[in-house]
Symmetry: C2
Subunit: 153 residues, 2 copies
């Protein structure tokens, strides 16, 4: 893939802050003509640098008051165990993020739920019941100090 020039970087920075800006606005702020801005955005989209444009919602106003960071250890790391765990992660929208980690735990999950009770239900039904899951340590989020999707460019 081609190098990403300074102009495109400026557009990306704007887009990850607010993609509802008009092209003419973005062009002006990025110091280029509207045509050029349009072409660059098209390129970035085609190249997959821009993965998606999404709306970010307020979890509180949608009654998802609980956010949990869970650390998971599997019993073994055979294909079947990993596949089984992956399926759980994939199929449950309550699990927003999941990363395989180096270090003390195998996985870190970020989970959102309405309250402690519904979290507990979800937890025991889908994670603890899974035969490959050895251990889950849940930490409740007391405060979201930062929750950005902006990559440092």
């Amino acid at each position: 893939m081609k190098e990403i020039d300074q102009g495109s970087l400026r557009l990306l920075r704007l887009l990850q802050q607010d993609c509802s800006l008009a092209l003419s606005d973005m062009a002006e702020r990025a110091g280029m003509s509207q045509s050029t801005a349009w072409r660059k955005v098209q390129e970035l989209e085609a190249a997959g640098v821009i993965r998606a444009r999404v709306a970010l919602l307020d979890a509180r106003k949608l009654d998802l008051k609980l956010c949990v960071i869970a650390h998971v250890t599997l019993d073994d790391h055979h294909e079947e165990a990993i596949a089984s765990f992956s399926a759980v992660v994939r199929n449950h929208p309550e699990i927003l993020e999941c990363y395989a980690l180096s270090g003390a735990f195998d996985y870190m999950l970020k989970i959102r739920a309405a309250d402690v009770e519904s979290y507990e239900t979800f937890m025991t039904r889908y994670l603890l019941r899974n035969p490959h899951v050895r251990n889950v340590v849940s930490s409740f989020v007391l405060r979201e100090m930062k929750a950005s999707t902006e990559l440092p460019l």
Copy 2:
């Protein structure tokens, strides 16, 4: 704030997947007229349910190959220590997310960097050098199994 009806929920689900859809498209998929869809989106935006519309970028294609989950413990929890740590978090775009947690650690950070070297530099310069930071445990992300911004609605 008012209750959120089923129609609005359908719009929100669509918007968190792809906010570049035309209003007419969204209206059709959500099973309502364009006028109604427009009014509902306006409401949701005014009520702050829709916080922002952003572009999600591909970290790999932008040469941010490293993602780290770091757990931080502070020396004490006086105002000054928290303020000092908060400032570090706020001022560094490499730190994408930061949550104050219950449990064994005070904070969990998600950090992105180009490579191990630049991470190491960032780490020692801004976190380990902070007098209020007692301990940092870094876990490298081996695989991003899921990284969604969609709330479960």
